[in-house]
Symmetry: C2
Subunit: 144 residues, 2 copies
């Protein structure tokens, strides 16, 4: 009984740490994502998604599945988008998934081909697979 109470107390004490760890874990994956993108490696970016993931970019149709998602990011790299930065703002676990709300910034060419800083926000549903968290649903938009 006493051991069970101690175990329960430890679990309660550990809960905020687990939540903080999940956000840190997701932020670590965000950094892997932006590093791959900023190196121009669309294949490495696509591997961070689940096989049947959906990406919903503004101004373009839904990209379904890893191959379509790789093409989407290759298009952004070829189009001169760079210096992507991703910041997890709020991460919440739901079953075997995690919902992340985040902010991003990147340098993008405008209509006159000048490089401008673009800021926006996103929601990612991550799924835990045998080799870690993968993006399963990814949608974003711009702040302006």
């Amino acid at each position: 009984m006493k051991a069970a109470l101690v175990a329960a107390a430890l679990l309660v004490a550990a809960a905020p740490a687990i939540a903080a760890d999940l956000k840190a874990e997701i932020q670590h994956d965000n950094e892997r994502f932006s590093q791959a993108f900023n190196k121009g490696d669309a294949a490495a970016v696509a591997k961070m998604y689940t096989e049947h993931a959906n990406a919903l970019p503004p101004g373009a149709p839904i990209a379904s599945g890893r191959a379509a998602i790789q093409k989407l990011w290759q298009g952004a790299i070829d189009g001169g988008y760079k210096n992507l930065s991703l910041t997890a703002v709020n991460v919440e676990r739901t079953g075997d998934a995690a919902r992340e709300i985040g902010r991003f910034s990147l340098d993008a060419p405008d209509a006159q081909k000048n490089i401008v800083k673009v800021e926006g926000k996103y929601v990612v549903i991550w799924k835990h697979e045998h080799d870690g968290w993968k993006l399963d649903t990814d949608i974003w938009n711009m702040n302006k």
Copy 2:
């Protein structure tokens, strides 16, 4: 033993029906949402969200909490946005939440105040509360 097998078989048979029911249930809520919006009732729209929900509109900052979300939709109604239509495309349950990918269309005034049809896509994380499903995270963008 036989009863257990029959029960297991029934459960297997019921699984796709449950998934279809969830999508139909969410679509029913989508219709309540668009009806409230199209009547100009931002308070009724806001009540469909959880108390601490986040809405992430394109071209504007995150609206956190029901009051901010009501203000967001009141602004859209006052701005002349109308004839909202929402269609659930893919709904997946994760724990006590459901992830919906959907499509929307609505009539919106352009820079010259002409009404144009806008089409887009969205992701909603629904949470099940005592009185039904509520939008907890809501993000969208335009197709063009």
